[in-house]
């Protein structure tokens, strides 16, 4: 099967998957009830007429099935609806808040990838040494500590005690003082990025190290040495490339799950990103935002998986498409 046909088929599955998720989320939100009623019911001075009028404004008087297809049709045309709480178009909100999330997630993934490869190679080429033992213990610790705990420790040490980095937010009035929004933005990014990178590095290191140890046992490594290749190039040209494939899968999952880990990080650091928005939207039953963001999460996960599978085929000639 050609790669184009494979991609087309996978894309069709992906669309079906995204539709399925949208139906489930829509059903769940509707099971809770009319958000306008829930939000306004106990407020003094609100009449049933007012509630009905607001419900009509948001099309909430229509039967769920109709509302689903109206929502779907609008999404297809690029309209995610309007946030009940912010009264802004959801599409624009997802974009601006999404940029803030990317700002900490992408650097964290890239940093942890480079760090993990370097650390894992160092450990794997010295298997069972003290260095290896130390790396393994550190990585296990890093993987088992809850993210929010690491975040709070970071805040305690670097914000509260040392006062170097800000403990919350993405921007501050320091922006004016420093004369540059860029430096201010980077300054705010440090702690959230560190928290994310800490966990990612730990997981990637464990994965990469065990793959490296496995690959280094193969005879083609010794064959490369026998042909006179310098040790560094034996390790990087032969071993790292072969050990990288399972890491690539995990990397794909990390990209896809970006928005899954975002709520914790962004709550700890009050970071104005999609994770923070998502938690707020759920608490306030801002259903257009919940729907829109769930769609974004699903699409990202599906795309990341698809891209990973394609990258797999390109990197590993042994993988056949079927």
């Amino acid at each position: 099967m050609g790669i184009t046909r494979y991609i087309v088929r996978r894309l069709m599955f992906s669309v079906a998957l995204v539709l399925g998720v949208s139906v489930i989320i829509f059903t769940l939100i509707n099971a809770i009830g009319n958000p306008v009623e829930i939000l306004l019911a106990d407020r003094p001075g609100i009449t049933q007429e007012a509630i009905d009028a607001i419900s009509r404004y948001y099309n909430l008087d229509q039967p769920p099935l109709i509302r689903y297809f109206v929502w779907l049709w609008n999404v297809v045309r690029g309209d995610f609806g309007t946030s009940i709480v912010y009264n802004q178009p959801v599409g624009d909100m997802l974009f601006t808040w999404g940029l803030e999330t990317m700002k900490i997630q992408i650097p964290a993934i890239l940093i942890s990838l480079v760090a993990a490869i370097f650390i894992a190679v160092t450990a794997a080429t010295r298997q069972y040494s003290r260095v290896d033992f130390g790396v393994m213990s550190g990585a296990l610790l890093g993987q088992s500590l809850p993210g929010f705990f690491v975040g709070i420790i970071l805040i305690l040490v670097f914000s509260y005690w040392l006062g170097i980095f800000p403990s919350y937010g993405a921007y501050s009035t320091r922006r004016m003082l420093m004369g540059s929004g860029l430096i201010d933005g980077l300054w705010h990014m440090v702690l959230p990025v560190a928290m994310l990178a800490f966990f990612n590095t730990a997981t990637l290191t464990l994965l990469m190290r065990s793959n490296m140890v496995d690959v280094l046992r193969h005879d083609f490594i010794m064959a490369a040495r026998a042909s006179g290749l310098p040790e560094r190039r034996v390790v990087y040209r032969h071993a790292v490339r072969n050990a990288f494939i399972p890491v690539l899968t995990y990397l794909g999952i990390l990209f896809g799950l970006m928005l899954g880990t975002a709520p914790v990080t962004e709550t700890v650091f009050t970071w104005p990103g999609l994770g923070f928005l998502y938690i707020q939207a759920i608490q306030q039953l801002d259903y257009p935002v919940i729907m829109g963001e769930t769609m974004i999460i699903t699409v990202m996960l599906v795309t990341a998986t698809l891209l990973t599978d394609i990258a797999y085929v390109l990197i590993d000639p042994r993988i056949r498409l079927e």
């Binding site: 083609f220 010794m222 064959a223 026998a226 042909s227 006179g228 310098p230 072969n242 590993d316 000639p317």
Partner: protein
């Protein structure tokens, strides 16, 4: 043979002297580990290989054949000893570690691995694998790479179009041809063949063995051929060394050894060869017991617990490897 006119020393291409490889055995504590013993994988062995000959190295699995071979090329670091190529001590060169010197060694001594499924990088095409030595050694001008690559493939019985394929697209026999081509890419004089056919189907073993013999004649190669399969050793070797628990116990010309083994272990190995004739009664194994652990090598002659002829002296005195008539070396108190 014209070898007789050459003085004994000069016809030797390879001379291994007192090669040892010990692996420490440690017991791990919480904070530190302490050494509780050692595995004597290769226990002080010496031998020579003459220019242009094939020395067969036989013995049961785990007796140290592969360790010996890999230590000779410094693919694993030996504990002590030397391995001379001509009059250069290979192991000393690697200990000094000057890159241009070690590269010279790598060009002259090559290795063919046992399992062609593990010894080729699965993500590289055959061309990439075969051209890597060219990239390292620069012994062929880049303009000639393609021509040399095709020559190499033809030399081992493959075609030009095979160059663009990946290892998984080949059969075991073809992969081993690639493994041989990789070893030959640097135009070596000495090649260690480490059980090159034992992971292949019986039907293709003969082809690979014939190829090795052909190449030896064509390129004037010297081989160390390692195997536990005695029939293939008999086919390719001029002389044979029998190894038991990290030591050579007998070494002789192939015909002498096969027709008249003097060490009881050599005899036991030879009688274990199945004869493809149903009328010949199956020989009963003369070996009793298991190979002892290389961590606890018996006192005296290391073969004595399993030897039918063992006496008191075998239990206490280790027999040295000494001349035993003609070209033969033997380490036994009571030869057959």
């Amino acid at each position: 043979m014209t070898a007789d006119v050459v003085p004994a020393g000069e016809r030797d291409l390879i001379r291994v002297e007192h090669l040892r490889k010990l692996y420490p055995v440690r017991r791990r504590g919480v904070f530190r580990s302490r050494q509780t013993g050692e595995i004597r994988a290769v226990d002080d062995i010496s031998f020579t290989i003459r220019r242009g000959e094939t020395l067969g190295l036989v013995g049961e699995s785990g007796c140290g054949k592969t360790t010996t071979a890999r230590a000779m090329l410094h693919l694993i670091e030996p504990t002590s000893g030397s391995a001379f190529f001509g009059d250069v001590d290979v192991l000393e060169v690697f200990a000094e570690g000057r890159r241009e010197d070690t590269l010279k060694i790598r060009r002259r001594m090559q290795y063919v691995f046992q399992d062609p499924y593990l010894s080729l990088n699965p993500r590289w095409t055959i061309a990439q694998t075969l051209l890597e030595p060219f990239r390292v050694h620069r012994h062929v001008p880049e303009a000639d790479w393609h021509r040399r690559l095709v020559e190499l493939l033809h030399l081992v019985g493959l075609e030009e179009y095979h160059a663009w394929r990946y290892p998984h697209e080949f059969s075991g026999g073809q992969r081993q041809r690639v493994g041989i081509a990789r070893a030959l890419a640097v135009e070596p004089e000495f090649v260690i063949c480490d059980e090159p056919v034992s992971s292949l189907d019986v039907s293709v073993r003969a082809q690979i063995l014939n190829l090795l013999v052909e190449l030896q004649a064509k390129l004037r190669l010297t081989y160390l051929y390692i195997s536990h399969d005695l029939s293939s050793v008999r086919f390719v070797s001029n002389r044979v060394a029998v190894m038991y628990l990290g030591k050579i116990v007998e070494m002789a010309a192939v015909d002498e050894l096969f027709s008249h083994p003097m060490h009881h272990y050599s005899y036991a190995l030879l009688t274990a060869i199945p004869v493809p004739d149903p009328d010949v009664p199956a020989g009963r194994s003369v070996l009793v017991g298991e190979v002892p652990s290389a961590m606890r090598i018996p006192q005296g002659c290391r073969f004595h617990p399993r030897c039918p002829a063992a006496t008191e002296v075998c239990r206490t005195v280790e027999p040295p490897l000494a001349p035993a008539g003609g070209d033969r070396l033997l380490a036994c108190h009571h030869p057959r």
